[in-house]
Every structure is written in structure tokens, then in C-alpha cells.
Amino acid sequence: MNKTDSIKIALPKGRLLAETAARLKEAGWGLDGYKASARLYRIKSRSYPELSAKMFHERDIPVQVAIGNYDLGICGSDWIEELMVKYPSSALIKVGSLRYGQSALYAAVSPSEGMSTLEAVRERSGVVRIASEYPNLAEHFAVNLRLRRFGIFPLWGAAEAYPPESADLALVCGTVEGLADCGLAPVSKVLGVGACLIANRNSWEAKDMKEIVASIYDKTTAREESEPEVIEQYPGRHPRRLKAFPPGGDGDIVRLALPDGHQQSPTFDLLAKSGIGLDDYPSPTGNRRPATDLAGVTIKVIRPQDMPLQVASGNFDLAITGRDWLCEHLYQFPTSPVKELADLKSGRVKIVAVVSNDLPVADASDLRKFSAGRTVPLRVASEYVNIADKYARDNHLGSYRVVPTWGATEAFLPEDADLLIENTETGRTIARHNLRIVDIIFESTACLIGSRRRVTNAVKRERIEAIIRALQTGVKLN
């Protein structure tokens, strides 16, 4: 064992940041840069010269520690289990719970649907649709529940908005009260969740990390994860009643998906110019079902990343998303019925291949030579795993490995990846991180997507066409 080994830790952004920062401050780590407003993700410790940290989206942390980019990591146990349930032989060990950030992962239903118990879910005929940011845990849950037939919608977020129309069951992390606010009732607690310290198995065996670990990890805090349990029905508050949203594609109601996040205000402006009025969008209270003055149209607000899959599976008729996410979907599912109906021309970004300025690579052909000369696989990090995979295939990058990421991918270079497939509006963020664009893959703008399948209901068909026409007018005025 070598005391002077450098030790790298992956720290979470988001929900666990404040409490983790407080705990590390108590432990005297001297990580001054670890705060929500941080613009640089790499942090040195003032107290331990061998220790350095980097901030990640929480979901990236177990992957980064398992593949050995980081010796230690702090993240929620939900993301650890999500990895381990599918890849049990990952080189990851759970050092222990940190006793903060407590919540739980629930399987929840919308009680209005009449499927308010696990038994009722199990007895349901046909495919049980499960929406979740945790697709591996959702599959594990479905298999253990002995569901005869199920389909999993892996999501980027907003799983709580899916039941009852767009999914039968959602696997959501939160509290019973929080679920009730979204109109959901838990039918099973799948997992107790809390902040955990994890380590790479090889680092744990080879490096001396005792002192650093002991400073934050008090042995008496170790607690067993609770087993899945069936919880009482509707404890506490009764779930909020939701506005009706028609399921199935047979009626004459058009189901439209609008984006959440930073796409909301450009979308609102465009819809306003198209003469489509919206109430409570963007919603300060997080309402995901805004009202509209368009007759025969209902609206749900979900992540743009998730929209193509939702349109493909018939949960929505129309959606406003980006061409990048449409391509990502079509590269994964070439036979999908989803297609672009109108270019909305806003939110223009380029999808680019990016390397560190330190690499002797100027274009795609350099990249191929660089990849061919390596003895280890090229690490390609991207939020767009299918676009990245196709790019690597099309450019004959030889032996490569796509590392999925959940945001701020530019911070991965140069130490945690060799190539990024990223979107950029101006290229400034890329330049600030000392990175270089070596290829422009395509340009992406906001677009309206729909299904190739013929709409049999004439009223609905006319309504869809009217929305397309209105948006095309709005685009001209925009």
C-alpha cells in the first residue's frame, strides 16, 4: 500500500449536494469549490494533498466508480442499485450509508385507474407499462412481481406524470406526500434510499484510503437497507385528483406533449404566435397538465428526451422536441413509426464531436488514426448513446466504448473520456473547458413529431392538421 497514491472522488450535484458539502466540511476536507454555483467541476482538497474531487450528475457516479475512473464516490443508493441489479459483477463496493438524503423508491399508480393494489396490477391482462428513470430496477421489480407481460419506458425524468394514461405504473423516488401531490399512490416500497459512500473494488484493495474514509464515515451509522415491503394504502394525504387525459389513440382527442426545462419559454412563445393559448405553462407549481384553449386537445409536460419513444408507443399523438432526440430514438429503433412533421426552427444547436485540446486530432480522419493507435478502447462519452455509437461505427473508430452520461459531459474530458458527442449552441462552453470541435455531425432545431401510422378518426386527423398549420404560421412569425 502506498500512502502517496492519489485518490479521486466523484461528488454529486443536485439533490445531495448541500448535505454532502456540509458533511465534508465537518470532516475537514477543505473542498471549497464544492457548491451549487460551481462553474468548474474539478476541485482540490486543502487538507489532503493526494485527494481530488469532481462533480457529476448523481446517476453518473456509480458508473464512473465502477469503471475505475474514480476511487470513491458519494451518491444515492437508488443509483447504486440501478447499476448493480443489472451488472452484479461491477467492481463496485458499498462502503456504507451516510445517513442523510433519505427517501424511498416507490412503485406508484394513479388510484383513479382502479389498479390500486399490487394484486390488481399483477392480474391485469395485456402489457403492463412501467415508466421510470430506473429501468433496471423496474425490470427487476416486474420480474419479481411475476408480471406476465410488461414494457418498460426508460425515462430521463417526470415519471410521476405518466400514470394513468401514459403508463400503468411509475417507479419514482420521493416521499408519499410528494407522490400524492402528483396524484399518485404507492403500491409498494421498492427500496429505501439514502446517500452512500462507494468505492472501486480494485482501489479499495490497492490504496490506503482509511484515514479519508474514516473522516466522513462513522461505523455506527451503518444501517441495513430495508427490504421491499407492501405499504399501507393512501397513508397520509389522499392523492390529488388529476384532470382527465384520454388514454388510447382511438378517440378524437389529440394528445400533445410539451417540453419541460429550458425549452418551455421558447415553446410558449411559438405557441402564442401560432394562436394557441396555454394556461399554467411554464408552471411555477410544477403542474404537468396545463390547460389550452384548443378544442379537443389535451397537453402533458414531459422531458423532450422521452418524447419520441412516447409517440412511438402511441401514448401521444404530437410532441415538441429536438431533432437530436428524434435521431437518437431512430438510431436505436430504425423501424419506429415516429417522424418529423414540422421544423419549428428554434433552439438551434449543433451536434458535434469534441476532443481535448491536448490531443493531436483536428478532424474525423485524425480521430480514426488516433483510435487505431491505441491499445485500450476509445472512451466516447455522450448523453446521446445511439448517436455516439453510430458516429463511432460510421467513422471506423475500431475498439471503442460508449460511456452514457446524464449531463455536463464537457467535464468528462480529458481524464474520464477521450471523445464527446455533445450539443452546442455557440461553442463557448466547449472552448472554456479547453476542448476542440473536430466534427459537426448534424444541426438540430426544435421540431414537431408525430406518428407515421394513419389516424383513422377524421375529426382527430383534422385537429392534428390544424395544429401543424398553426405551428407553421407561428414559425414564420417567430
Binding site: S89, I130, H140, V143, R148, R149, G151, F333, T335, S336
Partner: protein
């Protein structure tokens, strides 16, 4: 050279492949003689075939290779076939349900994840399914078929263990376990974790009775006697299952097959409803099967009784002595044609194959050791010169003469 083969997979070298084909051949011959017909199903199936209640245990399902297909946008997954029986049952439902009796066999690979990568994750098995008959004779036929294959492969000392899924389920019900608990205990038994039954929260008497029942072993008469002793004389509700097990065991005994009843000897597959048989060589399980009367209806077919058996080719390959089974090979001839006589050389190889000989065109790299004859071909007379292993030479002018010489 670094290994580039996927973890948990294996290559079959020419020698191993010869062994593989030999086992496959013996199995095929035996099946055809018993009146079974060969089928082949795709490697890829929908996952839901295997998630239906009563098909595979969650323990097995947690180790399957499932993924989203290129058209998997509905979220439904496909799987690399983890089992041989379920696809054949699907094929029966889709294409053959009109046939009252279907005797089918297959040679197929199955895929199950194994964490260490030391055991192979792709496994080959040869199996037979007897669909449409519910009698104990059908179960016995499958056991006899498997034993015949093993005997022809000259694998001795095989142990046959019998159990009964219906009897185990009835015993669990009799212990007063809820249906949920019964399912959990049965899953544990199938996953081979009987030692962990204590974690299930059963009370002590229940646990002791259950452990004693699962520990029961012996020939049928001894087994029934011990069962009566354990459960007092009252075997109500269990009798049909005991009768079924005893008739299978009795018939096997009459046929001279050596067996032992061992209730705990069931693994992995939840679709079994009746007699279960497992074949062991030493501690290695080399095959097994059983009755699955509910599977076809659970998968959406008509109510159809069925049972099946499978032998694990990977295990058998370790046990078969290839020399003992070596067939008499046709004589081998190496055809050495001079460049200007290449055309004649190739025509000659083709003619020799037609006549049933092993013949190779000389590429300059073959070792003479593997051949009984050298045959030189040139454009001028004598066109053909045959040399035998004793270096004795024979000349021929035509291919007919060559064939005549070889026959001598």
C-alpha cells in the same frame, strides 16, 4: 496474444467439434428411432414468453440476456433463449396444435449469465419433448431415451434422481403456507437455496417438517413408508401425486433402471407439474427433465399435457472417450497435381468424393501422416501414380483404373 473471446463463452476446436457432432449424432439417431422429429427454433424470443407466471423463476430471469431489439420502442424486450423447452412449446402452439401427439427433439444453445465467467454462459443441450400424453409411460419413455443415449456414448455410473413438483406443491399447501409463501419456498427450492429456508419466517415446526420432507430419499417403497411416518398415516390430498411418482418409479425399476427418489432434487424451472428426473454423473448434473402439463395453456395454448428431457452437451463432452467411439474412417487420399494438371487434380478429388473416399487437394502444407494414399497427377503418361503407406507405387491411365486400384 490477449484473449478476445467474450467472457463466459467458449470456442469449439476441431477435436471438440468432432466430439460435439458425435454426441449430437448419437442423440439424433436415438430420437429418430423412438419416432421423434427434429425442430429448430430461433435464438431470439420475446422475453414475455419466459416471464409468464409458472415458466422461469425470478432467480433465472435475473440472469437472462434480455435487451431492446431494433424495433423495441414499445419497451418490450427480447431475450437470447435461456431454455430449450419453452420455445418448443411456443412452436407447438403456433404451428402444430392440431396434432394430438407431437414427439419433437432439438439441439440448441441456451444463454444464462454466470457472474464469474468461469462456467460457460452459452450452453448446448439436446432435448426431446413429448407433447399430448399424460401417462407415466410417457415420462418413462423420455428417461429411457436419455439413458439409451448415455449408454451408447458409453457413459457409465449415471445416477437418476426422481422428484415430483405436484407432490412438493401439495406438501407446501398442507403445511398451511399461504399461496405467496408457497411460491417463495418453491422458488428457493428451485434456485437450490434450501439452506436459506429459515429466512422465510416459517415457524419452527413448519421448518422442521419441511426440511425432513425435502431430505427424504430412497426407492419408492421406502420413500412412501417414510412419507407416511412423517405425515402420520393421513396422506389425503397427496395420494394422486404419490401414485403418479410411484408408477413412474415402479416402471423404471421393472426396466432395471437404477434410481433414487430425492424430493429436493429440482432446479431452475418452475413449469414442472409432475415427475421430475435428473441425471447425475458423480456430482455433475448431465441432464434432466420432467412433466409440464400446465405450460402450454399458460402460454396461451390449449390445455395439453407434456413432458420433456434434455442432456447437457457441454457436460457430456467431458465424459465421452472419443477413441472408444471412433468410427471406421474411409481411406484418405492426398491428390498431388502438378500445376499444369490442376484441373485434372480437382476433377479427380470430386470423383473420389463421389466414390466415398476422403480426398484432399494438395496445397503443399498438408502432412502426409493423415493419408493412406498419395496420388500424383501429371499431364503426361503415366497420368496417375498411386503410392501407399509402404511406398509401393501403382500406375494408372484413367480415373476408372485409379478407382479399381484403390478397391484392391
Amino acid at each position: 496474444m490477449k484473449t478476445q473471446r467474450c467472457k463466459g463463452t467458449r470456442d469449439l476446436s476441431p477435436g471438440e467439434m468432432a466430439l460435439f457432432r458425435l454426441i449430437e449424432g448419437v442423440f439424433r439417431d436415438a430420437c429418430l428411432n423412438w419416432g421423434y422429429k427434429e425442430v429448430r427454433t430461433p435464438t431470439l424470443e420475446y422475453l414475455h414468453l419466459f416471464t409468464s407466471l409458472g415458466t422461469l423463476t425470478p432467480g433465472m430471469l435475473g440472469r437472462v440476456y434480455s435487451f431492446l431489439d431494433w424495433d423495441g420502442w414499445s419497451g418490450e424486450r427480447v431475450v437470447l433463449r435461456p431454455d430449450g423447452t419453452i420455445p418448443v412449446a411456443r412452436l407447438y402452439i403456433e404451428d402444430m396444435e392440431k396434432e394430438k401427439l407431437a414427439k419433437l427433439f432439438y439441439v440448441a444453445n441456451t444463454f444464462i449469465f454466470e457472474a464469474t465467467g468461469e462456467k460457460t454462459r452459452e450452453r448446448w443441450q439436446c432435448g426431446a419433448e413429448l407433447i399430448g400424453v399424460s401417462s407415466p409411460s410417457a415420462d418413462v419413455e423420455l428417461v429411457m431415451l436419455a439413458l439409451e443415449v448415455l449408454q451408447r456414448l458409453q457413459i457409465d455410473g449415471v445416477k437418476l434422481k426422481l422428484s415430483h413438483a405436484g407432490l412438493i406443491r401439495a406438501l407446501l399447501a398442507r403445511l398451511g403456507l399461504s399461496s405467496e409463501e408457497q411460491a417463495r419456498v418453491f422458488d428457493r427450492i428451485l434456485d437450490g437455496n434450501i439452506k436459506e429456508l429459515s429466512e422465510l419466517g416459517l415457524d419452527r415446526t413448519e421448518l422442521e417438517t419441511l426440511s425432513a420432507l425435502l431430505g427424504l430419499k430412497g426407492k419408492s417403497s421406502v420413500f412412501v413408508k417414510s412419507l407416511k411416518a412423517l405425515l402420520a398415516p393421513d396422506l389425503a390430498g397427496l395420494q394422486p401425486f404419490i401414485d403418479d411418482l410411484v408408477s413412474v418409479a415402479g416402471l423404471l425399476e421393472a426396466l432395471g433402471a437404477d434410481y433414487q427418489i430425492d424430493l429436493a432434487s429440482v432446479r431452475d424451472f418452475e413449469y414442472y407439474t409432475g415427475a421430475i428426473f435428473q441425471l447425475f454423473k458423480g456430482r455433475d448434473k448431465i441432464g434432466g427433465g420432467g412433466r409440464y402439463d400446465a405450460l402450454i395453456s399458460l402460454m396461451g395454448g390449449r390445455d395439453t399435457p407434456a413432458s420433456g428431457v434434455a442432456l447437457y452437451i457441454d457436460r457430456l463432452m467431458e465424459l465421452v472417450e472419443p477413441e472408444a467411439l471412433a468410427e471406421v474412417k474411409a481411406p484418405g487420399i492426398l491428390v498431388r497435381a502438378r500445376p499444369e494438371a490442376a484441373k485434372e487434380g480437382f476433377s479427380l478429388v470430386a470423383r473420389l468424393h463421389e466414390a466415398g473416399y476422403r480426398a484432399e487437394f494438395n496445397l503443399g502444407a498438408q502432412s502426409k501422416a493423415g493419408f493412406d494414399w498419395m496420388l500424383d497427377v501429371q499431364s503426361k503418361a503415366p497420368k496417375f501414380v498411386l503410392t501407399n503407406k509402404d511406398k509401393k507405387k501403382f500406375e494408372a491411365r484413367t480415373i476408372k483404373e485409379v478407382l479399381r486400384l484403390l478397391k484392391r
